[in-house]
């Protein structure tokens, strides 16, 4: 079968490789005059580039990692007048996340579950299951929150009822002022930062 002679020759040469490269293949031979101008310039060049790279890296990394900074994401927002929340009932409320951008669209409309026990006694639960963040759904007939992902179930007061969740539902800090319900909201709750 046809074979390019050059290919075979080069391949043969390649297959002579071994773990330790032969000296002839290593062009970086030790310099004869370590203090010569050429070596100095090379070192200076490397040093300058290292400094420049470091100076360049700081703003780039700072830019990319800016969300990691400690920042007061949480702020008080209103969920509406108290009349929206009948006593002894749990209702879905939606708020616009306080930290938002015009191109967030619907993704900044964050829902939460509001439980009004009686009078001004409220509990406000995050929508996210404490297991892996899926949206829990309230079933008023059985008085349970159920998660569609891995079967976490919570009682009406947010306590874990069954399934894999490691804790009860995340709760927002809340207050009643001027006839309105306010919650301190602004970030996705996780086990690392559970809102309150």
């Amino acid at each position: 079968m046809f074979q390019h002679p050059a290919a075979r020759a080069i391949h043969d040469e390649r297959m002579n490789m071994s773990e330790t490269a032969s000296p002839s293949r290593n062009p970086a031979a030790p310099p004869a005059q370590p203090t010569s101008r050429r070596v100095f310039l090379l070192r200076l060049g490397i040093l300058l580039n290292a400094i420049a790279a470091a100076i360049f890296a700081v703003p780039v990394l700072g830019y990319l990692a800016s969300p990691m900074r400690k920042f007061a994401w949480l702020s008080w927002i209103s969920l509406g007048p108290l009349e929206h929340f009948p006593e002894h009932q749990t209702r879905l409320a939606t708020y616009r996340n306080p930290y938002t951008k015009p191109w967030d669209g619907m993704t900044a409309n964050i829902p939460c579950w509001v439980r009004r026990e009686a009078g001004d006694t409220f509990m406000v639960f995050a929508i996210n299951c404490t297991h892996l963040g899926c949206p829990v759904r309230w079933f008023q007939e059985s008085g349970l929150f159920m998660c569609p992902c891995h079967g976490g179930v919570f009682y009406s007061d947010g306590k874990r009822a069954s399934g894999p969740p490691p804790r009860g539902l995340y709760q927002y800090r809340h207050k009643v002022e001027n006839g309105r319900l306010w919650i301190k909201a602004g970030e996705l709750p996780t086990l690392g930062e559970p809102l309150a």
């Binding site: 009932q89 749990t90 209702r91 309230w138 008023q140 007939e141």
Partner: protein, 238 residues
């Protein structure tokens, strides 16, 4: 030349592929366009998701009220049906479905459900001489006689069940779970699917009057145990 012809064949083939693309099975159909839950407008989808569990896949042979019963559809008016779906029936298993009452259906969707039920299951001429949907409670003592005349042959002399209608209708747990209106609706409209007659069918030729219906419901309701609201006490079925 052969090359040219091959190229032409390939081009025709490619074009026919492109033209055929609109008929490929994978092309998404307009009906598959994803809808948000509030945009669902199909009666079949809404009924199947929200009602079929208790009322049966076709409106009958469900555990709860037979919606496909023309007598029931004739008895209950739109406003009542709408109120029941929106707010549920307190102290019974009928949940509230309106968003304003903690459910997931919009007012428009509830209207679609009502229109759909009417179109499918409200057949035939309107009922003549039917007792009204709602009425003031009657006289329990009179009701006992109505029961003996019209109901006892199936439900047993004391309502604790007979061969044709097993199970007690005076069971205290049962009575605590159904409203007076549900009893009244059942007596008037019956359950065609499970063989319960409507108000005019039994005994044959002797339809119940509006007063008799009110009385027999009152007789049943009087057997329901009364507890102070909010207290639960043990109730024996026996």
């Amino acid at each position: 030349m052969i090359v040219r012809r091959r190229a032409a064949v390939a081009a025709v083939f490619a074009l026919s592929l492109l033209a055929g693309c609109d008929r490929l099975p994978g092309k998404p159909k307009e009906s598959q366009r994803p809808l948000s839950p509030a945009q669902v407008k199909s009666f079949d989808v809404l009924y199947t998701q929200n009602c079929a569990g208790c009322h049966g896949a076709a409106g009958n042979f469900g555990a709860a009220t037979e919606l496909a019963n023309p007598a029931y559809q004739a008895l209950v008016d739109d406003a009542t049906l709408s109120r029941i779906i929106r707010q549920g029936v307190p102290a019974t298993a009928m949940p509230s479905f309106a968003q304003s009452a903690g459910g997931y259906l919009t007012d428009a969707q509830i209207a679609i459900l009502i229109d759909g039920m009417r179109a499918r299951w409200k057949s035939g001429p309107p009922l003549k001489d039917a007792p009204p949907y709602a009425a003031a409670p009657g006289d329990p003592a009179q009701g006992a006689q109505v029961f003996a005349r019209s109901c006892a042959s199936c439900h047993g002399p004391d309502g604790k069940g007979g061969a044709r209608a097993p199970g007690s209708i005076v069971d205290r747990s049962y009575l605590m779970l159904v409203s007076d209106q549900a009893l009244r609706t059942l007596v008037i409209a019956g359950r065609r699917d499970l063989g319960h007659p409507d108000w005019r069918q039994y005994p044959p030729g002797q339809p119940l009057t509006a007063q008799q219906v009110a009385d027999v419901v009152a007789w049943l309701a009087a057997k329901r145990p009364r507890f102070a609201p909010g207290t639960w006490q043990s109730v024996s079925t026996k």
